[in-house]
Symmetry: C2
Subunit: 477 residues, 2 copies
Amino acid sequence: MGKEKDKSNEGASEKYENFNEWYNEIVEEAGLCDKRYPVKGMNIWTPYGWKLMQNIDSETRKLVNATDHQEVKFPLLVPQKEFEKEADHIAGFEDEVYWVTRAGRNELDIPLLLRPTSETAMYPIFDLWVRSHADLPLKIYQMVNVFRYETKQTKAFMRMREFHFFEAHTCHATEEGAERQIEEDLEIMEKLSKRLCMPYLSLVRTDWDKFPGAEYSVGADSLMPTGRTLQMAGIHQYKTNFSKAYDITFEDEEGEHKNVYQTTYGMAERLVGAIVAIHGDDKGLVFPPDIAPLQVRIIPIIYGDEEKIMDYCLDIKESLERLGIEVDIDDSDERPGSKFYEAEMKGIPVRLDIGSDEVDQKTVTLVRRDTGEKRTVDREELLDEISSTFKAMQEEMYEKAEEELESNIEDIEDISEIQKEKIYRGGWCGEEACGQEIEDITERDILGTPFDEEGFEGKCINCDENTETVIYLSKTH
Amino acid sequence: MGKEKDKSNEGASEKYENFNEWYNEIVEEAGLCDKRYPVKGMNIWTPYGWKLMQNIDSETRKLVNATDHQEVKFPLLVPQKEFEKEADHIAGFEDEVYWVTRAGRNELDIPLLLRPTSETAMYPIFDLWVRSHADLPLKIYQMVNVFRYETKQTKAFMRMREFHFFEAHTCHATEEGAERQIEEDLEIMEKLSKRLCMPYLSLVRTDWDKFPGAEYSVGADSLMPTGRTLQMAGIHQYKTNFSKAYDITFEDEEGEHKNVYQTTYGMAERLVGAIVAIHGDDKGLVFPPDIAPLQVRIIPIIYGDEEKIMDYCLDIKESLERLGIEVDIDDSDERPGSKFYEAEMKGIPVRLDIGSDEVDQKTVTLVRRDTGEKRTVDREELLDEISSTFKAMQEEMYEKAEEELESNIEDIEDISEIQKEKIYRGGWCGEEACGQEIEDITERDILGTPFDEEGFEGKCINCDENTETVIYLSKTH
């Protein structure tokens, strides 16, 4: 059902037919950002968008605090010599960093770079924080602005030159400890994705596509309405690659000095872009209630006794606020039609329409943003109804997106079958040369192999070699 | 009483005798920051310090949200040409800004500066946001990292080159509207200061000491243990100085285009430094409960039945957590003495000592950090006792600091009376030349005149001219 429904949506939909225009317009029209800032790739977070990002941060904080991560904040500027310690990492980022070379009227002796991510800011300090095995594991995170001089076309939330970034960094005494951390990160990602209603695939990147300096990287990829994928998060096993370069050691129980094993987990404001893209429709945004900047909007429909209606609305607003629900009343002079339009555009999960009928009958008309379903609810049952509507929306929005993801994955046996913009799944011999040939011929990226084994047996889609390795491919945003 | 008590403290106290060493040590020993980051003037926020800053931010947010300010986030980097639009503002900041001149392998065509404050980032956009009187007042704020290339010696939280900053910016249709905003800002500051237990003086700065570009500035100055003052906040009336430079206009009800009137309100991480300095003692930090990163620490004192004591502690911890209190148990292997030492050093407002006596008698020993008062409390009354202890601490810590501030203000009639490191109050003729002479001769800053009139009548402390203007003077941090 999901599949057919999605396909029929696709045919009629601006979002599916002209995704880029739809997306670029909606983020501004719904008030998530202002793109008129006079530096390319740097947008302004307007109040509505920033509230959404703060809600996402708050969900992330709950999950990482519950797993004993501690929040810190490191300086933005990194001295050149610290940046240059890990060779692969420099190579991966040196074309993308902004350099501060002057301060006041002075040229700086040592240029400072704006963090593109904070390994090189943190790791010189980690050796001071980690002395013995008793200091491990070290699990910290920060939520900060980072800078990457993107050369590709920029896009609100999805590819920016300054962007909001969550980064967790951990140190462990053993490789097993670091491996368990990767599992924990994937559990956090799984829980967070339920709050965001954002299904994804966890894929171990190819060696040529891993994070610069990592031993291996796991990407969390979501499906966009284009049939392309967007990476939502990166979880990276560094082993001792950085701890050797930055000399981060600890004294183990036998008094021996060893390098720590490290991992990182990064997510960016791209999560906002993905929520917009996955759940939005031609009427505007659709937010999952758990993270919506505004969860309920009350719309008074006034033809008769204004005061009576407004009192009723205010009473409802207060009762919802007491439950901690984010609610407002649209008491502007606009006509109901344009109030509905705005509430839909802004993706407010639940709308309560209240006119004199509702007041007289002690009811409200409750409208769900995702399905458009409209029903009359008794005032007395309203709080329960809203709470169950939120719960249903969280579940159904996730399921709908999951069906769309699954219905866009196609199993193939040969690269010649790759034609559409969707996700393909097939065998790969594991040879880098063959893999890069697959990418060249298909003009797709190999997203990687599933983090959880799938028990595949088949042939490489390019060279026909027998293999137990399965890969996912797609075009990427 | 307050005065005598303070003086006797001063005599015996490391904090009062060697403030700089005391301060520099305590911020690191208590775990508020790490000063070993390899760029001068840029420290690392460690978890305990960052939690404190977040708590202060959260109190600030409540107050500014309640007055209809909206939170936004502007980009960090500002193009040179936007920076150069308001002459006084450039002159005030050009020696202090960091410049990004390179990105990747390219020299940038237009250098970008790191915001030292965000007027020049925001105001080019304000004209797009404000079209008509219906868009006014515009009241926004952000909490961000800002950068100033300080040439004076840097000091944790008090004078940094990168620091955490709250900045509110407003636009109004009339001068009266902007004046009312200044009053509202001062009310917010007053409420916040009660939460931080941080009394201060609201003083209108001299013309030669106002914010670059402002019509006038009000500083909120707190007294440090040195007898010098520290500016905690700046509230600025811009009138149309910036709106003319940045062409921010609106259409009034008659269809006429006019420049908006603007104000700003800024506070920095300096608030953390002030709390440390004002409330700390020779045993360590002392935090007001309303903003303490950790409000209660339970210390099990185990000689006998460990399990019984730990169960009792856990039960108490859970009952406190249910009330939203930040609480932990120090279950380390350290001896009680060093646990007490740490709890004191970290400034945790309330300590609960629990040994077998307490378990048997269903009590706890409650210790207040500010007074050291220790008393036995029935388990059943504990929640009420903690809540009333928090309340008492908030009030008494504020009052104690207020007494210290007041007892350090001395009225004088002539500049020859200025000898000590304290705050002096006296007449000033109002002439800039005479005022600057006062500053030169006394080696003090004129902090300004009280925002609320004091009904002064007297003579200028320098030129003996009759005057109704009273000024406050002190050395400043």
